[in-house]
């Protein structure tokens, strides 16, 4: 099936004007599948880390949101062991006016602002609430261990 013009344009713009700290490169054999890296935001436990993600644009994109998953292990209350992300704009708050760029920025922002009150990884969220400093230290350790640049 031909690739919709929107996906072509988005890809071109991502290449021409990349977002600082974020890269998204489509697979040559499947232009709907992107290899993504996001740098951990500064002032966060994920600073100095580079996280790999996969992003897939389903058939009815942009009517439905892209499917995004962390491939790099990460200690975060809104990201589970399988790398699935709990983020409203990837689910019910998706809008066709959003795009790959804005979604990846939202994920980067989520790294900078974990939300243990809306958890996906319950154990992480629990620890985050009970002993935030320890949880942040674990997140830092995991970043060093799994997401080292």
């Amino acid at each position: 099936m031909a690739l919709p013009k929107r996906i072509i344009k988005e890809t071109e713009r991502l290449m021409a004007e990349p977002v600082p700290g974020i890269s998204a490169v489509p697979h040559e054999d499947n232009l709907r599948y992107f290899d993504v890296t996001i740098d951990g935001p500064s002032q966060s436990p994920y600073e100095q880390g580079t996280f790999k993600l996969e992003l897939f644009l389903p058939d009815d994109y942009p009517m439905t949101p892209p499917k995004v998953r962390f491939l790099t292990k990460i200690y975060h209350p809104n990201i589970d062991k399988l790398g699935r992300i709990c983020l409203d704009v990837l689910k019910s708050n998706w809008s066709p006016a959003l795009q790959i760029r804005t979604i990846l920025l939202s994920i980067q922002a989520l790294l900078g602002a974990p939300n243990p009150d809306d958890p996906l990884a319950n154990d992480v969220a629990k620890r985050w609430k009970e002993d935030q400093n320890a949880a942040i230290q674990t997140a830092r350790d995991w970043t060093t261990q799994y997401a080292k640049k």
């Binding site: 099936m1 988005e10 009815d60 942009p62 708050n93 809008s95």
Partner: protein, 559 residues
Amino acid sequence: MARPRSKRGDLIEGLSYREKLSLASGVFMSEDATISPQSKQTPLNASRDARALIRLIQCPQCSLPFRSPVTLPCGRSLCRVCLPQPHRRENISYPNTPDRLTAVGCPFEECGKEHPEGDCSVDVCLSKIMETIHDVVNSCEPVPGDTPAKLWEIGTGSNPGNAGLRDQYSEHVHFGGRLLSMFAMAVMGHLNYHAEAEFSSLSNEGDDYQTMDDAVLGRLRETTHKELDCHVCYNMMYDPVTTPCGHTFCRKCLARVLDHSTHCPMCRRTLPIPPSLEQQPSNVRLVSLLQGLCPELVASRAEAVVAEEQLEMGEMDTRLFVCTLAFPSMPTFLHIFEPRYRLMIRRSLEGNRQFGMLTYNQHGVSQTDLGNTTFKEYGTMLSILNVHMLADGRSLVETMGLYRFRVRAHGTLDGYTVGRVERVEDVSLAEEERLEAQDITAVPVIDSPMEGRPSTARFNDITQLPTQQLLIEGLAFVQKMRAHSAPWLHQRIIEVNGGPPNDPALFPYWFASIIPIVDDEKYQLLQTTSVRERLKIVIGWIRRIESQRWYNGGNCLIL
């Protein structure tokens, strides 16, 4: 507006400048522009059509270039400050949101309706276009050696009700060619929306500023173009529709968005418009702007929109709906609620109003050339008779079976199934006759594959019954069951499906549509290639029903 314009386009060379001017602008006087995919206009010319170009961005109420323009629900635009004073709406209790309790009377005579205040938001797209136009105009520094030109506003006289026409020939001197000087006139309030304008160079060298006008228009075109992209498809807007919250999308894009959600993609406000968008007017001003600035792009977009679906479907030129069993000449009623099927139905309605109906391959039976598909390969082409749109975008669709087909290849398009199909047809009458003769004269088979079933002996003679007799037996069974008040022959069901047809070719389809037996049995009918074969299957069912104990028991009327 598009067609007459293209006709006039051929004539325009033979007219005087004044006539051309009024022609070109006359085209844009209408606030009821629509898009015609066939339009092959030439874009407005910077010097020849300068007046028409400036009019494109003038408010029809105050004649100034739009200031925070609002596009009303009727598709017409005006400055926000030109909105009439809102009044309280009477006798309205639903939806009763504060922004709907007051309304403005539409100042456009063609409309005259009442628009709730909440539906009169600033048109974001048009506002941005105005900003870029001001930017371009401001960046056009006076060129050294530029000479002034004299301009006259000429009242058309055709709008006696418009008090804005002061004197017939107000005269002004401006710099910067036709476009910039007329824009300046408009900004200063010296150019009535309905008025024409004459332009005369005061240059000693007789410079007519054409090069300058072309350059300015070129820049305007380039910068406004960026604002004319749809935020959903990233293409230039095609048939733009503006939401009550002031956001503009291609009509098709917005319709698809509404298949999935009732919120505006830009601001997430709930959109109080029927999801089919059928009654939603296009943004008249944007349509005019697009047509005026780049008609060739509009035309190619129109072609692309049509071609896109066809191209993407390629060989897979048939929309398929995997849902239920349907039969030729019989009605099928559908409740459409999934976004992908809403889209499929809408596209069918735009096209030939047909789509193929397939049933699920529940038992995962391998289909001849297709392997193990989710659907069974034989289906029925349905023609849409009626669509009843529900307020939330769901729809009730009434269809009629046309012909049977077999899927030869399949794929998906925007979530629904598409395929290449081959019609399944009955053999010729000669062949039909030959089959019957062959059957009747054949030596009776004693050992049937149905051995062991109580009805074996009676099954065999079906093969030797004349085709007409098979039909008679079928009709007789129906009559008998009606006499027994079988619930599946309830008057209501007969009203929907019609009475039993006397045509032997169609009777089996009718029978299969109403008899309560499993679909796997009924599915056989779709594969048959002769009338006789179909009737034999149906009589086979009847014989089996009749042979069941509970049926012979007399009083029990489960069936």
